[in-house]
Symmetry: C4
């Protein structure tokens, strides 16, 4: 009798399950270079604020650009549906839990106004910031020309899962090689989580890939669809695709890990796993300058039949500058992310993000009582 | 000295420990076909309501048939012991926790009336629904002729563990090849969890297999007997048996994963693991139309010496239609199961249930704090 | 450079981490034979009550013998220090938590009286029960002759860890081959947990081995000394030693898994892992007839410098007969242990304990929410 | 297509995930020798009190030396900044949680006074104790001569991660071979966690290595930087480096596991994993004689931008003698550490610490309910 063919399951790992091993050499944190490049743009910190309405508006994009990073404005969110988005954002922050779902549904049923898109992009540009904007794949053909005209710098095409080959009833979906031809900006596409899907995307000619689908067990994507890959494994796989693509094309397409971060340690682990940059949502929703006013919510477009995400009170812990560079006023690792990254790179002897990709990592489960009560380091 | 022979333990996996990896191609959810066939019957959704008294009665069977699925009426439960089962069901829903065990014992000590069996089957048939009925292996010889006469469509022979070869003191137990000869209906048998036991059952000529024994650590079968296999591994193993049997016989015997589902993600994972359909109990007990009136209980025949199962308050969350097709009024993934399945198939690029069997899966433990607090997806 | 030599760690498993896979054939539970033999004694159930003061006294030993099992009277516990042990047992059950440690220290500092040893053994024998008694290795030379004279049937030599080769300052420790020569009774020795230590013990000529050292993570042995092996792995290893020894000697030395049981499922798993019998403490301390009066405590001889164990309120759940044979009044699996064992053997198609050793097992972690809320089996 | 190169993750283990397997021979605990040697010093117990201000002052160093162990005085802590450190220690123990961070910042911003360093060392020496002192690598060149002059016995160079090759902007960092030449004392360096980093350090000529970086999942180093290795794996790796270095140099450089201990079992596991000694902080902070007065805190030098550690109330459980030698007044394994170690060595048949390195260990997860409620050992 032939051996039965059982479906194989591969072990995957999330932030909580791994740790970085210090290196054999160490360097001073202030000697680390953490530049991140996308197309011809160079950012002094490898941090991108996500295209969520509780995180990125014109003001936040301006601010993070001044601090060395980048923010992505969602062209299909609150900001492009309302002349005065502050009003509806304040309302979202004020209504009771019982009222929030209908309010969000109403808020996102307002039509997107193309003239506001232009205004928002110009406002960001006028501040001197690099302007990145995002659209769903299905709407990219509509919004890309508007963004181009308004002189946006970077286009992000993002949905829960985006592949180079999508089949839909419409005659022709979005063809990335054509998009890259027609749009002069660098294009970042996502999200994906596997080696082959990431490699496929890179081969279309795009300039960056967002990594992350249902990273945590409590993610709505994982809960409702059963779909997802923990972020460390997803990052490792997509980094391998990047290195493969670099070998075959000579072109370095950065991998941006998106989602699931709660603290500096997570960010350091993503970089050590192979990410060139990270896209951060929740932690930034806690910034004083965040448009969410201490709240965070998921869906830019609530699906009436399959709602995912809900409004969460995240609170306000400090300024964006404090979150990025400290001084940390909290001890949970959610502030001074850059200080943490530089320190981690220092103990790994990594002077660049790319060198940090070579740091050793171990599987070290989060669930242990070891040192739970009073683990303290001597120095 | 020879190497000692240690008993080997194989790792198994449950719903919470795995996740589905998105595919390299994606399709629109509305282009997926989720038909499920058993014998000559085709159902438009791969969903079967379980043969439990809190789930299936004539009305529920009629309703789910209209919605594209199937329900199994337990011939040895409340429905065939009482002319008016509503009375005793209402009583079960009303008594205190202290009174429930004796009440259940009393309720199931009433004799099964053969004339009521006929009435129930005819009522389901008259509604236009496909009628499936179930009996224990030991009682199948008694009830199969009655079900045949009443023109039931599908016979389910089900116990905690059913094998093709059972030894008992009685001279001749149930011989499945003989049963398949004598009964004109398609026969579904279960439950089983291993490759070899499933293959044995398929070789008897039956038309479907139910998969699931003590799937969860908190199952009474697992707690009390130590027996059980988590559902993903059980489904993978039985799917391998199905494929093996298809190769040797040319006959496709569907695998129906039964038990342990709490949300859409679980259902998607079972299908991705190889199931052709799923049998659902608890989630349906929460339907407005469920005969359990917001309660659920396990034993059709409480064993006086080894009680298993008890009455659980599951509450009522929505209509059956809502549970199957949405709109979801809750965000825990227990509603719009079909929408979830089609979406998961979409991101895996699977246009049929059989194509979904090829989706990659990873082991991704449930126990992590990753994104626990406010994991939200951007789009 | 040579490869570094890292110490290797082998994965081990406890009750909660495994489950039994149903077999390809099934038999009726009432056709199972669960006899257990030690020396020339045959017991109709493979159950031994442990030598703990909250579990075994003359009355309990008599009762369990009548029910088909065996109990071990601790020759160094309360029973042989007091003419009227009921008094001190009642006191132990009544004092406050603050008073218990000094009381236990006082209780066990009373001298052991050799005449009481004889009386206790004779009382058990007069009831018609098989009489098993236990002593620490260091005290075996002193107590074995007394037990022999009083016509005890089985001698148990037990300490936390007992090996065939113990080094102490005293000129000659206990030599098991000599003990086997000098004592006419079957000798059971323990505890051990590894293949080699168990094989060593069997080669000394003894008649049974107790398996179990610090089985659970919360065991005092594990907490305080870091020493222990989870029971499934310990049982698998010692069962391999038994089979090895059977092959080389033709003599079958039963393996008795001792400790860590909380419910029928655990017992079934131990048997499936290779145990010939199980030694039960805590569950029996919950019997109405247990001398501990609803309490349980660990140390027969509290060590003043390194206290281990403490008094625990376990409550009283039913009679010993109910715990062994049901009917179960609780649903946590702690009653009707024999019914559970026979049922598990039935679904595995095992007609004897030795056949049950061939049951397949899977690693199936306890920690999952799968079916946590309302997992119920249909039949 | 070439196989993609995925970053590999190695599994690592902490105290809670492993257990020691009893040996095939056993010896009496009182026949064990647990001497620990560093340079020409021999200590009768392999225990070092860590260089933390809540643990080690002159009095504590004197006391532990009398009991056979060693303490390390932090030259950059409270003790060398204040003529009368009792005052500030009392204040740290008294202020509210809200006031503690600024107080600690203030306390450690006082300048270190070189004359006090000399006084402290002389006070320890005058008591007859062996005097070990610690400094950060960056400050070692400044403090080593002072310590030498004051006749300290052992120099500890310690930071979170210390390597043999550190790059900094300053022209020349600390060169360990040169330090070993210039300082007559044995030098202990740390912390490190990997085979190669440990081997590098040993090859510089130092006399001992401290092992431990972010051992627990809740460690600040792990939380904030993502950096760390669980202690069992770190100890195994560094022990392999020690054995490698012994083979190539003939010199035995002891490995001292530092951090994460909560009870005797952890200590026994570290020794079984290959440690020659352990450095203990938190448990000693609970001693009546500890300068922390029932509190413990981490940072000798709070970093204003990236605060790690905080003040924790650990309470006072007994005298240092009780913690080391019992009698234990608590049952959590945090007292009579030496009794626990000797007992564990006894059941492993190890008469020396080096023999204990050969004890078998198993992976035995902490997370199980096995025996959780009332696991008790019979003897």
């Amino acid at each position: 009798m032939a051996t039965p063919q059982f479906k194989e399951l591969r072990r995957s790992y999330g932030f909580d399950e791994v740790a970085i091993v210090p290196g054999d050499v160490t360097i001073n944190p202030d000697q680390t270079n953490i530049d991140f490049k996308i197309g011809n743009f160079t950012f002094s910190i490898p941090i991108i604020a996500s295209a969520m309405d509780a995180v990125t508006d014109v003001n936040f994009a301006t601010l993070i650009s001044q601090l060395g990073g980048l923010a992505v404005l969602n062209l299909e969110g609150i900001q492009t549906r309302y002349d005065n988005p502050q009003e509806i954002l304040a309302e979202i922050a004020q209504v009771s839990d019982a009222e929030i779902t209908p309010l969000l549904q109403k808020a996102y049923s307002q039509p997107i106004k193309e003239n506001i898109i232009g205004e928002r992009i110009q406002a960001i540009k006028q501040s001197g910031a690099v302007c990145a904007v995002s659209a769903l794949p299905a709407n990219t053909k509509r919004f890309a020309p508007i963004a181009t005209e308004a002189k946006a710098d970077i286009l992000v095409v993002q949905s829960t899962v985006t592949t180079a080959r999508h089949t839909s009833r419409s005659l022709r979906g979005l063809i990335f090689p054509e998009l890259c031809q027609s749009v002069a900006m660098p294009i970042i596409v996502g999200n994906c989580v596997s080696y082959s899907a990431c490699l496929d995307l890179m081969r279309t000619g795009i300039s960056g890939v967002l990594v992350g689908v249902g990273p945590g067990a409590a993610c709505t994507t994982r809960e409702v669809l059963g779909v997802g890959v923990p972020q460390i494994t997803a990052t490792i796989d997509c980094a391998a695709a990047r290195d493969k693509y670099l070998g075959e094309s000579g072109r370095y397409v950065p991998v941006i890990t998106d989602g699931g971060f709660r603290k500096g340690g997570d960010l350091c682990k993503a970089i050590a796993a192979g990410a060139d940059a990270v896209m951060i949502g929740s932690i930034f929703a806690q910034a004083k300058e965040a448009p969410g006013l201490g709240y965070h919510w998921g869906m830019s477009q609530p699906h009436p039949a399959l709602p995912r995400g809900t409004r969460i009170k995240v609170g306000t812990t400090g300024t964006l500058e404090q979150i990025l560079f400290g001084p940390a006023s909290v001890t949970d690792g959610s502030q001074n992310l850059i200080g943490a990254l530089r320190s981690a790179m220092g103990v790994c002897g990594a002077s660049t993000v790319q060198e940090m990709h070579n740091a050793q990592m171990v599987i070290a489960p989060a669930i242990t009582t070891e040192g739970k009560s009073w683990q303290l380091s001597a120095t």
